[in-house]
Amino acid sequence: MKSEGESSRLVSLCIEAACESRESIEKWRRQRRSLQRLPSSLADSLLRRLLHRRLLFPSLLELFKHSVEVIDLRGENKVDAEWMAYLGAFQYLRSLNLADCHRITSPALWPLTGMTSLKELDLSRCTKVNNAAIKHLISIPSLEGLHISETGVTADGIKLLPSLKNLSVLDLGGLPVSNEALSSLQVLTKLEYLDLWGSDISNKGVGCLHLFPKLSILSLAWTNVTRLPNLPNLECLNMSNCTIDSLLEGDDNKAPLAKLILSEVRFEHEPEVFSYIETSFLSFLDISNSSLHGFCFLSHMKALEYLDLRSCMIGDDSVHLLTHMATNLTELNLSKTRVTSAGLAILVGYVPKLENLILSHALVDDLAISYISLMPSLKHVDLSNTNTKGLLPRPGSESNRTASEPDMIPSLAALKSLSVLETLNLENTKVTYAALPPLPSFQKLINLYLRSASLTDDSLHLLSSLLNLKRLGICDAVLTSQGLDSFKTPATLDMLDLRGCWLLSEDDILAFCRRHPQIEIRHEHLSCSTSCQRGSNWTSTSRIYLEPSQMRRNQGKMSMSRPNSHCFIDQRFKYSRERLLALQYHSLSLTPEGSLMELKMQFD
């Protein structure tokens, strides 16, 4: 992988130089012959870079009309009818993403009529787009993927879609799709992905879903569907926020379900609901916030890799069920459950592959740490908002409890046995300075998050010796400017979160920023960090501290389940420039035959 990244370095240097400023663009924009010969992969990334640098304007688009195949203009507010007039002339345009471009109207899409190469079009949340737009779009027979969730399109517009015979991906989320409109789509037999969240579909409507022989990804979240009949090729199903009576009931071939999202579901006939599900392929199960009381069904799901039990009624009495199926589990979310340290003790020895354990707001304490330390593959541990103190009475000292100061030892020391531990989240716990001394011995630790008013300069000083640290959060701490001055930052550090450290003045923060330009600082005194903060306050803690790949997965999940438009967080904040460039090329490598693959990947 490394050689691949290096091999494209000169290309990225060139793109960087080409997009340096308006003047540099002027230097190459008249080289028409070169622009025409530009391979589409290069043209795509050049265009993307221009967009990121805010240097793209409509007439510049014209230069790319013979080369560009993929354009992603997501969330660009300035994109309007003039842009579309140029884009309509793009000969080889294969994928156009206009999601959240609020100035796009139905008439603005007229230039797209009759395009011959366009396969994928995303108009999600373009609220001014309505049925009139569909009339333009049906003249593009090559369309294979169409996303029109949360637009102004109604059932009448949807009834026009059957003329797009090649559609395999159709996202109608948040639209008033009626049973009648859905049944009019029957002729779209190539359909593999269908998103109907928030639609008016009822039990009567889902009866016709079996007429889509290839349907493998389906979302019926936030609908009134209570009984979903068996669908022979279904791999991913999202029925979050529904009331479920029966699921995939039927005698014929059971669906090879791999991913099942039943977040915030109310179950009518609890014990039977999972009885029709083929469990041999099921690797992803989200039943967070659901009304389930019994969890016996879990013991059959031996292929599960991801299990989200957040805010479920699960307690220690049900944990033994997990011991039957946890061999393949890599991620387990038990936050806001009634599981205690004793429950975790039951899991020890049964979770050989568990990498990510989230216990935020669970009823665990320091005893849990000793059990966690016996789960050998753990990379990410989230103990935030728990009763963890980081201190345990020294074994044997219980007898003389009467002594005024019981003999305490740091409980975190046990985690030393986790040789691959990368992330430790101890925010809002009772951890004090006394608990921290074992931390410097975790040399693999990359991310550490602390948030407590009892942390001081000493704690920060102690953390200097964590040499591989990349992201450090030490929020709400009583740090002074001297403390920050004398902090020897680990060379690898690229993010330091100091939010809530109220004793630091604006000058302290700015001086630190100047001394360490490579480190992204978060503090209320920095304007950019305030926007970050608003964003992360909204996302649950468990989500923020996942690795980017997992982050993407979660975003994918969210977009399947509900509108994602609460607030716009510029995702670029999270990454360094090098990282962004790497990501840029990462998405490049996904382009051919992209649409469905990418969707599936988001889903995985």
Binding site: V11, A17, K27, W28
Partner: protein, 98 residues
């Protein structure tokens, strides 16, 4: 410099650049040409012709090869690219996998 340790890169206009083999190997494409056992004529004569790459661009490419070696050895300087060269250079770099 021993002859075995050099390669000759020839531009579209016929200009010849003789550079260290080690530098040329920065390009994955040239590396493959020079090391593949398939009996490429390039392997024998240590000479590669690029009918698509102009002299100006090939010169820049050679500079990049040497810069890249220095960079790998920890000398972190910038590699300057004139904006008017970016398009052609980018295409050449893409072809050469460098």
């Amino acid at each position: 410099m021993r002859k075995e340790d050099t390669v000759k890169l020839i531009s579209a206009e016929g200009f010849e650049f003789v550079i260290d083999k080690e530098a040329a190997m920065v390009s994955q494409t040239i590396r493959n040409m020079l090391t593949s056992p398939g009996g490429f004529s390039e392997t024998e004569h240590r000479e590669v012709t690029f009918p698509e790459i102009s002299t100006t661009i090939l010169e820049k490419i050679c500079q990049y090869f040497y810069w890249s070696l220095q960079y790998a050895n920890g000398k972190e300087t910038e590699f300057p690219i004139e904006p008017e060269l970016t398009l052609e250079l980018m295409m050449a770099a893409n072809y050469l996998h460098t």
